[in-house]
Amino acid sequence: MTPDKLFVDRIHSGDVQSPAGPTPARRRPRRGEARAGYAFLAPWLLGFFLLTAGPMVASLVLAFTDYDLFNAPTFVGIDNFTRLFADQRYLASLKVTGLYVLLGTPIKLASSLAVAMLLNNAFSAKGFYRSAFYLPSLVGASVSVAIVWKAMFIDGGIVDRIGQGFGLEAGGWVGDPGKTMPMFVLLTVWQFGAPMVIFLAGLKQVPAELYEAAAVDGAGPVRKFLAITLPMLSPVLFFNLLLETIHSFQIFASAFIISGGSGGPANSTLFYTLYLYIRGFADFKMGYASAMAWILVMVVGLVTLVFFKSSKLWVHYSGEEK
């Protein structure tokens, strides 16, 4: 971080006086600092109260009401929650989303780590590969890619034809409730580039001496991976795991486009946020959808908590940690 020339020029062009005694900065009354701090923070503070904290409270209240946007909300107690867990479509959305998180996240992380390790070599063009592999992560959640994905997996599409070559039944994946999940898992795994880039940054930090020492001791590649790479990478792995999991819970656009907004066939693509959208903004069950949103917050909060608690067991921070 070298200060750029512009700045240096500015400092020197100002009439610099040699400071005698304690700097005025230190003397400045704290109240002035507080005022300045809050003035600069004002945009975020305003946004936090108006767009986050306020709506969160409102959403919590709404979760206990019946509200259709046109008539005043009526208080219904915990009805929304009890009805949720008797709602077959809601339970389906829980199952679909849970399965997606459980399958997609580990496979995606494993592939991103594998490619990161492949690229972590001294060969040239590493930067090129790194960027090119990242591209799907950039466009993966877009409507464009969802359309392409659908066209590829539809009856008679490319994947169907290739699958038939490997002896799979014909018929496409889009309309088959048993095959939509693999299709979505492939879509998320395809976007392995973002965690890969983070893994690569982590791999760069692993001291080469460790591997050299291990080689002297006669450790094989598997041993090196388990004893050096994984522990050294564990903070990065933890970060990626947390990020990808939370991210996976919120899949929406591709599910919406591929299923035409319905979550079909047979609710097999009824992801949590898609069902939330349907209930809240197509059926105008705002209270019901708010209850769903709060359950999502609690699930994500719980998962985060479990990750953080368990991280003490498996995440190792090296000496130069802050």
Binding site: M1, D4, F7, R10, I11, D15, Q17, P24, A25, A36, G37, F40, L41, A42, P43, W44, G47, F48, T52, P55, S111, A114, V115, M117, L118, A122, F123, S131, Y134, L135, S137, L138, V139, A141, S142, S144, I147, V148, W149, A151, G156, G157, I158, I162, A194, I198, P221, F225, F239, N240, L243, I246, Q250, A253, T273, F281, L296, V297, G301, T304
Partner: protein
Amino acid sequence: MSAVSTPTTVSTNPPRRAPAKARPTGLRGRGPRRALVFHVLSLALLAVVLYPVIWMLVSSFRPTAEIIGNVSLFPDEVSFDNYARALSGIGGVSFWTFFKNSLILAVGSVVGITISGSLSAYALARIRFPGRNLWFGLMIATLLLPFHVVIIPQYIVYNSLGLVNSFWPLLLGKFLAAEAFFVFLMVQFMRNLPRELDEAARIDGAGHLRIYRSIMLPLMKPALVTSSIFAFIWSWNDFFGPLLFLKDPALYSLPIALRLYVDQTSTSDYGAQMAMAVLALVPVILFFIIFQRHLVEGVATQGLKG
């Protein structure tokens, strides 16, 4: 793929005393054969990964009847008909209207996020004031919060203010630094700038506003560039927000127009769908090609998502 994944393959012959210590692990001994293996592997993988994107591009030049099931990446004949149909728009609205709407939203997001993000980040990174840690903690917490929990009340409020079906709901949050990712990124960046800089300026009698404008903003240009690129692309690709708040086709952003197009032409016109999908991605791909360094480094250091 995971078979490929044990790249710590150390050659069986004992490693030569390598002169460069910093050299990373794996595929050691940079003999031309190893390099060849590495490039063949990587290129094969890249071909698989980029196949869908290239296929989309090629398909957009094919007659509709030939798209589905055509595995080949080489068009037999190049036709621009799909693009002609895509550009003619839908529902009486021209493609360029959607494009313009997306552009307004994306540029508005960039402006909003760079201004509000840098101001808030300056407070959190450079000013010592009571409550700072509390606010910083709350800001980090919002990083993990699913936005679905706030979207329903937000919708109700915007609806009662008559702002649904306008760009307000999609832009206001950007000017109020509601996306904590960007504030966080800028805070982290500013914390790494040497303290002496602002202390020297303080001695010269500069106030916070002056320090922010004349010292911090020029110095944090890399962070601002990274934020701007991501802000643009995320806004450009955003589907949920526009789906919720834009009802009038004349206000549609490209992703929503694309969805309408798919719904209306779902029977057959894959050609025009592909052409429009390509057109919707053009700015993103251009940004990617021009700024890929910033994008990838932004991800590496801040853990941003795509």
